[in-house]
């Protein structure tokens, strides 16, 4: 009945995997972004689980910084998406293939 660190880590791994599969199968760039957010949050969960397991707050601070970097990443990423949409009128990741060899 005890919820140990392992339970949180297993849940974190499961959420991360769902995020990875989402990035691989979805074509809408905004949904791909959401899946990346899901992965970042899964990692945050394991950081905070480790923080309790270690008995220090360093993991929580790290999770806080991950959140800030994620916010910056979302701002720039969505800006790029809007810029691409103006040119192509589409948010599908398959339509951006100018660099394709």
């Amino acid at each position: 009945m005890k919820v140990g660190t392992n339970a949180y880590l297993a849940l974190s791994a499961l959420l991360f995997t769902i995020g990875v599969v989402g990035v691989l199968i979805r074509r809408n760039a905004i949904v791909v972004f959401m899946c990346i957010e899901l992965m970042l949050n899964a990692v945050n969960l394991s950081f905070i689980a480790f923080a309790r397991s270690a008995g220090t707050l360093n993991g929580q601070i790290l999770a806080f910084f991950v959140m800030v970097v994620a916010a910056a990443e979302v701002v720039v990423g969505l800006g790029i998406l809007v810029a691409i949409f103006r040119k192509r009128a589409s948010t599908s990741v398959d339509d951006v293939n100018l660099l394709k060899g």
Partner: protein
């Protein structure tokens, strides 16, 4: 059986953890599978709230509140805003660009889960759960603030700089060329 030995706190944590875990996994799966991007965004909000619940269970009250305000609040509003701006009508195309991509993605996901699961099962981290009672003495927010402005003050300033750069970058990207 160890069931008799558990304390009331541990039972409460268990009884909160299980429904929250089920709900968060269900929301994540629904987000990936939902055809409509707006449903995906709303399910992601549900998932973020579940994670905030886990953070409370893990004695990270400050991070839990930040999670709700920054993630479920600010970031998801940004997502929905862009979603509405770019048009909800652009549904996902069902055609696979690369043949067998979905099956391959599922197999790769299972492999990844298996690898991480094997690492967990090898018992590297133990099944115990530590306690932050000593570190959180005098309040979680106070303790985090003290760390943030002493040991991590350089990272804190750097991250502030990063946010400024990101804001300016978004402005440049969003600007319409005359």
């Amino acid at each position: 059986m160890t069931v008799l030995a558990v304390t009331a706190t541990e039972r409460a944590e268990f009884l909160t953890f299980v429904p929250l875990a089920l709900l968060s996994v269900a929301a994540a799966v629904g987000m990936v599978l939902s055809r409509n991007a707006v449903y995906s965004a709303l399910l992601l909000v549900v998932n973020f709230f579940c994670l905030a619940g886990f953070y409370v269970l893990l004695e990270a009250q400050f991070i839990a509140v930040v999670q709700v305000i920054v993630y479920a609040g600010a970031i998801m509003v940004l997502f929905l805003f862009v979603l509405m701006l770019l048009g909800v009508g652009s549904e996902d195309v069902l055609k696979e660009t690369i043949r067998g991509q979905r099956a391959a993605a599922a197999v790769l996901g299972l492999l990844l889960l298996g690898a991480v699961g094997a690492a967990l099962a090898s018992g590297g981290f133990g099944s115990g759960s530590g306690s932050l009672a000593a570190a959180n003495q005098g309040g979680n927010v106070q303790a985090i603030g003290r760390l943030l402005f002493t040991r991590y003050v350089f990272a804190f300033e750097a991250v502030g700089m990063l946010l400024v750069v990101a804001a300016v970058g978004a402005l440049v990207l969003g600007k319409r060329r005359a």
